[in-house]
Symmetry: C2
Subunit: 297 residues, 2 copies
């Protein structure tokens, strides 16, 4: 019997939506503009991939998924903060995201910058809330891991080198891996491992999930790069070809199309193989891996 990823995801996305609705200040509370802007970007049709990984990380080690929902919301807030700031005129200057106007096109640059800031601060407040159901020392470990994956050693550092690599002709595979391992891979992996640590994963489980997370992060990014070439703008909700236009550091740029696709498949296989110690409990993460390299958007 094939695992029903759609059914699994729909239920868990509903938990995440309800938890976000609960944790994010209502648009009616002061300052209205800030809360409207935060909600605009947060409830804008995201796939909730990172929260799904957090929940799956807890479940695969036998934990209670409800206990990791504040972390699941936190990683989605961090992801959304990074999208809002990356889209700013001074950075990627994008007008569309998921088929909608980007935050600063609707609320202006000042509110967009401050909304990202507010989401990042809120993320760490949410991580603290995990201590209601989880021993405080585990929460502290996850806090440090998520903060590390967000800052100069993670997403923000990766974004800086990504910007600085635009238009460079002498990029090698190592640099592209460095950039995307930090810009995308670090938070994906931390979302998954964070859920597992909160749920009491042992060292062997954590190690296996790290191998899975890093490889799936790689497969995810290569697929993103390929979709920017092959994808359907309507389904993606943003124009295709923008990496080429901006001469970004992508896998196809340094490896070509065919080798990139092969590397994505290999990363998928390596990631899935690392899950063998979990037996049947690995089905959700195996299906997610398949979805990640096969997705159309």
């Amino acid at each position: 019997m094939t695992f029903d990823l759609a059914g699994y995801s729909i239920e868990r996305r509903r938990w995440v939506e309800e938890a976000l609705e609960h944790f994010i200040p209502p648009a009616s509370s002061e300052p209205h503009s800030l809360h409207q802007s935060v909600r605009y970007s947060l409830f804008c049709g995201g796939k909730r991939l990172r929260p799904l990984l957090t929940i799956a990380g807890a479940e695969i080690v036998g934990g209670n998924p409800q206990h990791v929902l504040p972390l699941a919301c936190a990683v989605e807030c961090i992801h959304t903060f990074s999208l809002i700031h990356d889209d700013l005129p001074a950075i990627d200057n994008d007008d569309l995201r998921r088929g909608h106007l980007t935050n600063h096109k609707v609320y202006g640059e000042a509110i967009a910058i401050l909304s990202g800031d507010a989401l990042l601060a809120l993320s760490f407040e949410l991580i603290g809330k995990c201590s209601l159901n989880v021993p405080a020392d585990r929460v502290i470990r996850v806090l440090q891991m998520i903060a590390h994956a967000t800052g100069t050693n993670g997403m923000v550092g990766g974004q800086v080198v990504d910007i600085e690599s635009e238009g460079k002709d002498d990029l090698d595979l190592e640099t592209v891996k460095w950039i995307h391992g930090r810009k995308t891979g670090a938070l994906l992996t931390a979302s998954l491992i964070g859920g597992a640590i909160l749920a009491g994963a042992n060292g062997e489980q954590e190690q296996a999930l790290t191998v899975y997370g890093e490889n799936i992060g790689l497969a995810f990014q290569i697929t993103d790069d390929l979709l920017d070439i092959y994808g359907d703008a309507a389904k993606l909700g943003k124009p295709v070809g923008s990496d080429l236009k901006n001469d970004k550091a992508t896998y196809p740029k340094v490896l070509g199309l065919e080798t990139s696709q092969r590397l994505a498949n290999e990363a998928h296989d390596t990631g899935v193989a690392a899950l063998s110690l979990f037996g049947d409990k690995a089905e959700p993460l195996k299906s997610l891996a398949k979805y990640i390299i096969g997705r159309e958007q």
Copy 2:
């Protein structure tokens, strides 16, 4: 005998500088531009008032000041993040800060935005490091308090309403208090209480320090507003009169000069009176309060 605030501060500032030097990535590490930019703004002659409050908060309840240094560095990073983002063209559009060019004038807007983001993420990683010497449940409480004081209920929310209040003629005292209580007061108070909580403050001590912190935050902001009118641009390191020019929400605007000064003095007295239960141990905070309303910069 008068308390020697200068001697007290010099020693503690040295601890903070050494700890920051230790915790902040070197400018030689990748990405260089990001780390150079972070260090430019962080080591740019700040008074380290928030870290001093954290250390004083630990000491007044008999704690080891060395154990709260990661928090002391974290609150300085949060303060610096807010300065970098507030100075951006889309927000306050300032060219000078502490007598130097603002971050984006040196490193460009993209790096300035990302440097602020990196500093905010790093702050929370640093708070996690307090768990080396302090029980994890105390660290979690402080994490949530600092995150709350930073986000939509604190600094960021206050900044949004401050921007939206520019040029308004019908401002009242309550709105000005709302803005500055969040924009400035929340982090000042959280810096102090955070140090005290990490050091094991009891409920009564925490309550007294909260009264001190909120009143001193108020006195600090009124003094800032008055310095923008009376101050010496050379000593302040920035032009005076910018609040008036931008028609900002200030205490002098809604209360006039004389009543503003009286309110600052009253807040000082209320704050200092709350420290009575600490006896002689209150001397550093009493001196800091006096410095705050008397300072020239």
